[in-house]
Symmetry: C2
Subunit: 289 residues, 2 copies
């Protein structure tokens, strides 16, 4: 198995669903030597150790990354700059930092200026997740059959990019290369906008106190499925809404236009246009089934 | 078993998921004598016969309802007036008509004036469904543990209401009584608005042709779950959007206000307000899990 080892020492900063699942998958593939964990919560790190997600942990980021070949940052987007600064004193020359943040332009803008020339950074984003969090939620199959978007910049070293690409392929993910800007626009459309819409929908319906009872109680399974993503972590989504502001506002604007068109057709009772609108959406949706 | 028979002869107009599942559930409970089917498509009626959903069928509504104690109308909302008129010549004195339409005020407004004094109408709406349609999609457990809303009017005979209430309870549904107006507002909030939002979202994202590729291909399972309801039948939703116009426009307005508030917080980068907004939605959503 030693021949398969891609990363002799890996440090995971933030041993939750995303970081922990990467560790477990690389271990399962025999592609990693030692896995060191780090993160704010000691109970979570103890749990990760007990579950075999990590081999040991350090409370101090600089101590955690000492000797690491690859450091995976899996903490909320707005913490990544601070976390990188805390790691810097411990990093060896040639170490590669990569991340799993949902926004890439802001992350690269914050992290790259912090790094000396012999520390490499590969911005990345595995498109995977569940509603669960913490080391206990981690499982090695999370990335299997999913896509990971890597967004190299002019500063990204070719060999560092190649190693991270191989790392994601090893855990079963298809790797797609994209510019930082394109990543943020695509994610604004397919992920960030839908979350904003779900949060707004639940807020609008739940706040509608026209009746003395809670009308959400009448909601059938359709509403529950549709609004499941409104149960996501508020801190994570605050960070995303703050750091992908421009692309997100553009997509919210697109959506508002689309809804306004539909609202006009409802108001004027234009059955033919309503039918066309619904049919077009159904066809677009059915094409991605 | 004869003691359990609630409805000696039941006619289902529209033998699809909704009508067929009611027939199967009543048969399973031994609560119905003969089930007669009617509907536009002969292949679907043949299939329903073969699957034991109905005992026989007639192509002509007046022939189908002859001798029926209860007639269940399960065709799209905008067809219900015409279908009722077609049934009238065949109905016996004392027959009870009920329906499963997603909009109630308009349905009652259209049907009630058509009926002579000895034909009874009980407007109803079982809150259940799947993405599938046709007799083949029907299954007896569809209504188990679900709610059925009955919306009696000043014209609804007490004994007719009681029989239809028992019918839905027999198939495992909890029966809730509500005014026509309240039903339409509650459904606008928990069902009609979410469908409009899902259709608009898919339309906005799918029409965003800023890139040469289809960005929907990058969508992860979250987007797919969230937009599943945009795959619903366009004809059914055109009818609902046309017949529940006023309540739906009010809810679209509520939603637009909620989204505009969120958009402002994104634009100004107000992290505290964003967090509060997301947390409030999460709490409302988690409460209905």
């Amino acid at each position: 198995m030693a021949d398969n080892i891609l990363i002799p020492r890996l440090t995971i900063i933030g041993v939750g669903l995303i970081g922990g699942s990467l560790a477990l998958a690389l271990k399962q593939a025999g592609a990693v030597g030692e896995v060191v964990g780090c993160g704010r919560g000691k109970p979570n790190l103890e749990k990760a150790l007990e579950l075999g997600v990590i081999d040991r942990y350090e409370r101090d980021p600089a101590a955690a990354v000492r000797g690491a070949d690859v450091v995976f940052l899996a903490t909320p987007v707005k913490t990544l700059g601070t976390v990188t600064s805390q790691c810097l004193p411990g990093l060896k020359a040639g170490a590669i930092i990569t991340d799993g943040g949902s926004v890439k332009e802001e992350v690269a803008r914050v992290i790259e200026p912090l790094l000396p020339a012999d520390i490499h950074f590969v911005p990345g984003h595995p498109i995977a997740g569940t509603e669960n969090s913490g080391a206990e939620a981690a499982f090695p199959e999370l990335y299997r059959g999913k896509r990971t978007i890597l967004t190299p910049t002019v500063n990204t070293a070719k060999h560092a990019y190649e190693l991270i690409r191989q790392m994601w392929q090893t855990v079963g993910s298809e790797v797609v290369e994209m510019s930082l800007e394109k990543h943020d626009k695509v994610l604004a459309a397919i992920s960030h906008l839908p979350h904003m819409v779900a949060y707004s929908l639940v807020n609008a319906v739940g706040s509608y106190d026209h009746y003395e009872e809670n009308i959400l109680e009448y909601s059938a399974s359709g509403f529950r499925d549709f609004t499941r993503i409104a149960s996501s972590d508020p801190t994570m989504w605050r960070d995303i809404a703050e750091t992908n502001r421009v692309a997100l506002l553009e997509m919210v604007g697109q959506f508002e236009k689309s809804l306004a068109e539909l609202k006009d057709d409802i108001a004027t009772g234009n059955g033919d246009k309503l039918f066309e609108f619904f049919l077009r959406s159904k066809q677009l949706r059915d094409a991605i089934l």
